[in-house]
Symmetry: C2
Subunit: 244 residues, 2 copies
């Protein structure tokens, strides 16, 4: 499985992906699921992928190929983030149609993608692109998307995250969401790829790969366990009618 | 959907179930999924159910019917909790076989059950009974089981719960697990049914139904949100290499 999460907040975009792929529990590998593109000062693009690895790599392969051969339309020639989401959706549909013409077989090759970025002169955008190639757009009401093994890490996002949250706090919230998922499900695994984009910078950030032994991530994880345990103990004791 | 959770700890058993059933989002009902049986001073039994409502009600119906008509074997005549888990598993298999003889159709009628209890002179036991009628037993290493929509509420159990935890703290942990699930998934809904059994009491507790407006549960939920938000803010700020 996979867990990818992306936030579109007032001050910027945050992306975190795990790197574990598995075909059965005895066939586990590390593959990058977070891809960055862009033209310094003009556009910044991040794509995260979940699902059939051959499909996701073919989608990224076609997008890269179009850029290399300067074939239109491509990620750098489209006018808006919406057109980019449509282009990726069409590429995905084509990749699946290439593998099978039997529509009942399509779900075997499904993948989901998150697309976030900004083009000069326009707002930042974040899209969730479905296996069918259509998509939805993040809003101030729902400033995050998840793909893959999303349930374990959803409660902390639902309870704590908001559009106005500063980026450094949102990063902590997102990493806790990952730590919770990593602890409860072995199909999601380290290292993590993380990338933070500051609004209107039109900069292509390096991003950070977070390994198992990363001191900051380990500290976060340990401290969070302490916060939860102490928090539980600080909650009011159940009234007698609860314990009867 | 459903969310049921049961703990087998040093000092006793804790059971919590939601009550929402749905056949589509426009057909939502309240049904009890936590059933108590027992003979004061001799045995205490709780069964929680998840899955096809007709199947779960038929299983409970057959178990009750056997008790009423004093047909053997029944919940009060079996010698051990293990025999009881086997009896319930056989009842479940029979209920499904009654509906369809086509094994490919079985999964349409699946249900899962948790069985917890104690018989005089023996230890408390907690079983997770699978749709196929076989079962596993909780241990000190893994002192809890969940059935239904379990993922949202698993991280807090994995991080905080332990076999030695006092019952009043375990109750808080379990209710937080439910609160997290209720917030992230509308297919799990209030009221909740909760029951706490104290080891060796061989008492049949009343249990408690927790409604939406329950002051203790509301306080817990609000305070937990504050704990998480303050906790996030108290975590160390990401180092510079995280934010590049």
């Amino acid at each position: 499985m996979t867990y990818c999460c992306a936030l579109r907040l007032k001050d910027g975009l945050v992306f975190v992906s795990d790197t574990r792929t598995n075909a059965g529990v005895d066939h586990i590998s590390v593959f990058r699921k977070l891809y960055t593109f862009g033209v310094q000062g003009e556009r910044f693009i991040t794509i995260q992928t979940s699902g059939n690895l051959a499909t996701t790599q073919a989608v990224i392969g076609h997008l890269n190929n179009h850029l290399e051969l300067k074939q239109e339309p491509n990620l750098y020639s489209v006018n808006t983030m919406f057109e980019m989401a449509e282009l990726i959706g069409q590429t995905l549909r084509k990749v699946i149609a290439d593998v099978t013409t039997d529509i009942n077989e399509h779900s075997n090759y499904y993948c989901s993608l998150l697309l976030g970025g900004q083009i000069q002169g326009a707002d930042m955008q974040l899209y969730n692109i479905y296996p069918q190639g259509n998509c939805i757009n993040a809003t101030e009401d729902t400033p995050y998307f998840q793909i893959g093994e999303s349930k374990y890490g959803k409660p902390i996002l639902d309870r704590a995250l908001g559009y106005e949250m500063p980026l450094d706090e949102a990063v902590r919230c997102c990493l806790i969401s990952f730590d919770s998922t990593l602890r409860s499900n072995v199909s999601v695994g380290m290292p993590l790829d993380m990338l933070i984009y500051k609004k209107d910078s039109l900069d292509i950030p390096h991003g950070k790969r977070i390994y198992q032994e990363d001191p900051y991530f380990r500290q976060l994880s340990k401290q969070w366990s302490d916060i939860l345990r102490r928090g539980l103990q600080s909650l009011p004791i159940p009234t007698d009618d609860y314990l009867e």
